[in-house]
Symmetry: D2
């Protein structure tokens, strides 16, 4: 493989950093990535990609947990104020964010490269490097604290580089800029909309590292993450005066408390790790009124799909029984779901060799599980079910804090490494 594209990528490093910082300044959470998607679409269009947006990316019937209309409206207005192109905005009406860029190069395999684009509902730490260097989040209470700003920059760098080497590519490249990864909603929506059908290879990556990590390496683990189901539960009871007629109420908070204790007490699985969390609770209208509505946001996880399903089914049964116990009802809504899938070992090995041959150091940790969830697994599952192959890898970088923490930042010199990894993988698979 030709080293000249690597040299060109290295020269793009300052541009990649600038791009990343632009996205960092305007973080947007799941299904409101309006400015983000508009910028991506603009760049892909300019580069010459065929661009899909809005309901082309994600069919309405395939989407879980869309935000309320007023939240969408506010986010669109903010995106407009922050420079999003109105035409692109129009195409995302209803919160159908995300962009797919397609490059068709004749016969050959279809290769999908996936980059997740959403930010977190998190307030950036004071004293963050972004303060000193001018890229602090302009959107209060929202932050790129999981490195997706870097993923977008890598994706756009890859888009540029692949155009440079397009003569060497045979087949089709799909660059999937996926919304709503946090909460495990976006990948399922893209998959169910059919975009992974017929794909032979799918690749994804995540920034990773601690303060001591040497930037510039690639780590390949098992690719296995935890399967997960996210769900909301709303208990409905009947209000009554807590002093005069508590027996005339149906206490939704008593039901919720019974449910919460029951949920955490779901018996552990004997052969696969499991997790459960009830992250938020809101309920009640007044101190002396029997509480008639409680809302929970919860999730379960499992090292295997079976263990996750065990947790989910048990959890739903507990929610319903706890409601019934106190004469209440409960509405349960699935708010996200990711499966547990392993990398195709042959592809992991093939890519490791290619990268090493190009001078990119690779850490082979093929047995290592990542005890978080990643909705890339939905894409990997669909591709493998069709006989295709998948690989999820890590772009190592010195990071200032753990993922999802208010002080998180990464060493931007990892951006060219990420671009090189994707580009050389595409060249290998489409040669």
């Amino acid at each position: 493989m030709n080293q000249s594209i690597f040299t060109a990528i290295d020269q793009k490093a300052p541009e990649l950093t600038a791009l990343r910082r632009d996205f960092h300044r305007y973080p947007e959470t799941r299904w409101t990535e309006f400015r983000t998607s508009a910028r991506i679409a603009e760049i892909l269009t300019r580069l010459g990609y065929e661009v899909l947006m809005g309901q082309q990316v994600c069919k309405p019937e395939c989407r879980m947990a869309a935000p309320e209309a007023d939240v969408l409206e506010a986010a669109r207005n903010r995106a407009m104020a922050q420079g999003a192109d109105p035409v692109f905005l129009e195409s995302m009406k209803g919160g159908f964010t995300g962009v797919i860029g397609i490059l068709r190069r004749g016969e050959g395999p279809t290769v999908a490269l996936r980059f997740d684009i959403d930010a977190l509902p998190l307030t950036e730490a004071t004293g963050h490097r972004s303060d000193r260097e001018g890229y602090r989040s302009r959107n209060e209470g929202c932050m790129h604290g999981c490195g997706h700003d870097g993923h977008i920059a890598i994706g756009l760098g890859t888009a540029w580089a692949l155009m440079q080497v397009r003569e060497q590519l045979h087949g089709t490249v799909k660059l999937i800029f996926q919304p709503a990864e946090e909460g495990a909603q976006g990948a399922r929506a893209v998959v169910d909309s059919g975009h992974l059908d017929g794909v032979e290879y799918v690749l994804g990556a995540h920034m990773m590292g601690g303060p001591e990590t040497a930037t510039g390496q690639i780590r390949i683990q098992s690719g296995k993450t935890l399967a997960t189901s996210k769900f909301d539960a709303v208990f409905h009871g009947t209000p009554s005066h807590a002093g005069q007629a508590p027996e005339q109420g149906n206490n939704a908070l008593l039901a919720a408390a019974a449910a919460i204790q029951g949920l955490y007490a779901i018996p552990r699985h004997g052969t696969a790790g499991t997790q459960i969390n009830v992250g938020t609770i809101r309920g009640g209208s007044g101190r002396n009124v029997v509480c008639s509505e409680v809302r929970l946001e919860a999730e379960v996880r499992g090292e295997t799909d079976a263990a996750n399903t065990y947790m989910k089914q048990y959890a739903f049964r507990i929610l319903r029984s706890a409601a019934e116990m106190h004469g209440c009802t409960v509405d349960i809504t699935l708010a996200g779901e990711a499966v547990s899938v392993e990398n195709t070992p042959a592809l992991s090995e093939q890519l490791a060799r290619v990268w090493e041959s190009m001078g990119l150091p690779v850490q082979r940790r093929f047995d290592e599980l990542w005890t978080a969830s990643e909705d890339f697994a939905c894409m990997a599952q669909r591709v493998q079910q069709q006989g295709g192959q998948s690989c999820y890898f890590r772009v190592l970088s010195a990071c200032t804090a753990g993922l999802h923490q208010a002080g998180f930042d990464f060493d931007e010199s990892a951006l060219p490494t990420g671009v090189k990894a994707f580009v050389s993988a595409a060249l290998e698979l489409m040669k």
Copy 2:
């Protein structure tokens, strides 16, 4: 009314004490009052009463919560060894204890006098007067700690005295020596067997007092006690190895724990006092096995029948929902039930006047509730439903400790007072 019968009763005092102590020595719990019933039947027969026993007193289909066959067998053998007449024992086969003595005196109202006869599963305190005076319980773990031994002595004294004055009586007297009052099973069984049908007056009494109480008075309260439902619940799950496959079990103990917390948390009633208790629990086969069976003994109470029903229905729903919550099932068995009924005010007033006229001091506390349950209420309810009248009163006596305590004893000089109260009441109502 003639005072001479009162003088005769006073002369019987030593005999009443001796009778009471005989019953105290051989206490027997619910549905195993074999020796007790045999002794009562023997005395009533000798006095000339028409005597009903066994299934004549309590029809098989009317009885709740009979003891296991081996318990009955052991109790019969003990009664035999303690001098019970084998013929009477034979008539109580299957644990149909209790005796009814009938005296028919031509036309006139039917008056039922009720005396409860069962003892408690309690170990008599060391240092009890019974030790020094030779009437300590011979039946380890069983004790007359609720004064029913005194009630029997009063009942038999009344039987003797009524025979003395039978010429002055017009109508029919039924002396009901009722089994299984503790646990609220016996009265319901006697009522459902038809013995209160056609009864115009029903009277009952209980020993009452503290260390400072002046013996020899009568107290009439509202007669109102707490309605109650007693029930057993057995949770059934599935065992599995707690280390290797907890997810393959269905944890009956988790279900029971959820139920217990739920039961005590049933919202209080706004207008009537309620109570709940889970008194005993037994479950599980081994430390490292998921528990597959748990047994609970529980009860609810209410100041009104409606409040008791509210508690019972809520409790049963909780038991079923808690079972379902953990994939278990639950069997619920009603083990006793008493209603809440008030004395007929006119009868309370009529008796108070008669007693006062005969020199028996009366405390009129017609508004006072007793926060315990008494299955006499089932009898009172049946009689009142037929247009009859009922009165439940207290025979005051200096008592050494509270009811149901291991140190309980009463001042036996209250026994003649009790007999006088019943006899003068019968003379009044049947004059």
Copy 3:
């Protein structure tokens, strides 16, 4: 007593209705009764009363649970916009609402008449009569749903009438327009600020009735209400990633759920009714984060002060143990408290006779408990402790719905009745 003042009061009826509707239009919740207090102060001043406001009514150290600064600020601004006098507003800086009007008439007893003035956080029902007749609440989410608008009108009518008959009064009248009754905070603050010291008689009243109630009668019950303690609890834990390191968190929601189940399960009291409610809950920052903060608003009640104290102490122990159970801490803040006090029977009887002699029908129900809480009891307790007398009574009126319900309204022809009751009582006690 002279009937002419009653005739004059009857002629004021339209004015009383107009006053009531003015207060109804601008309801204000506890400690934000800015416009309400300003209007009251204005009228009392015009009538010639000595007027106390702000920290004269309630010393800062005597106040529980003041609202946040921004809430106070918004409420002041709204009051200003709704016509409150800026001078009076200034005197209430910091949320020290409430007004006391004093009329000194030489030697004689001090008589305090108490009128509560706060509204509820409730949205008025659509279709309420206020819609059709133009007095609907202008303050969204706030409503006079407990009749305090009527109480204010009665208080101001009484102020006017007492001035008319001032020559017949001997002693001192204190008209206490008390803030923050809902939540049981205002009376305690007024009492602790010394305003009941030296008072010989204290009277209070509440609107009462159902759709069928005949307007225009007075009902005197026991005066006894439930003692109550209101409290807030905030559980503090430690957040962590729910998938990767739940064991590094301290789960405040698990602690809160354990506490809630424990609170409702506090064993009932054997001799006095009790109540408990956890009315609201808020907690958690994200679905996949171990919840590190949960806020509860709760209350306990008891038919006696002892039973209320039993509930409070048990509740606080549960909150602390539940926190400790999951490695959390909990901050508990008392947010209100009312005692349980009975009317002075002699005063009830004296007033009943006076009212009847003046042609006001009286329902004597001296044994009746009201199963709600009323912080008037704090005033009654202080006066009785000094050897004084108290009476709390009901002004009956046909009401469209229960207290605290969104459809609540009352028959305004009850307003003159209320004024007559207070005025004739003052004339009697100060004659």
Copy 4:
């Protein structure tokens, strides 16, 4: 190595089967292995071993959870009746069961071979092969359902065989017939009594297999089992009458229910599997009495010692807080404990090669965890801490049911395989 000893072992097969069936007939649970130990001691003595018994095997201060005196007495009497030698019985007074046989062969390493000897509290299934072939358990409610009868037979076969080849051994062999493995008590006691001090190699084995397993192979896994802590908790409260004065009680069952829900709800660990179980519960004296004592038997487990310690500490905190929550106290007693230790990889490999060279097929599964607990790990830990090596392996056999099930039986042709494995290991390590 010489094959002739293997031939000799094969000829002993019928004798090994007879031995196993003798032990199977007379199963004895932890710390009551009187007949079992007496038989072992008798055989070892006859073979010429130096024999340790009673407090020589297990010092009194090193033993947890000894049975009650009456249980020990009954078990000794039964053992006597079932033919145990009275002299040996005498030496086990107080329940100090277990036997160590020592063979000293001059200079060389000390090698400990461990065989566990206790049975389970389990009733043998009807239709078990033992019925047809005459070795059914004579001790109702007790059964060798975990293969320890086979382990004893292998141990005694090994004792015989080592004596045959003693000339080839250099060093010291300790044959440890360990009591009380179920419940994780015996190994800790033996280790704390000093018997593993100075040991260079320690080996242990367990029967394993399903219905389809080919008998006659050896499987070597990681040796890693779950660390575990077993504990008993007794909640102490105060009884009171549940209807009249529940507030005067301290409800131990409410405390226990809160604890149970809390225990199962201990947050899962992010990086190591954990387990928890409350296996049994007993409490309460009567339906209408506030429960004042509840006993629980529980256990926690962890894939690592750290995870197990996390569970244990959290569990103990929950027990204490739950007691405090309801005004109760709790006594917690440690009833067993096992660590998590891996085989020494070099020894696993060394033994695998030796066995293969002798014709014993070996399954190498060096990464495989066993999700149960095994107190052999305490011995392995002590030896490794001294720089020694340990290996725990499986003797594969077609088994009719899972371990700890009433239908469990194994293919006795695995017994010679087990003996060969131990003998050839000793010859290798002491050559």
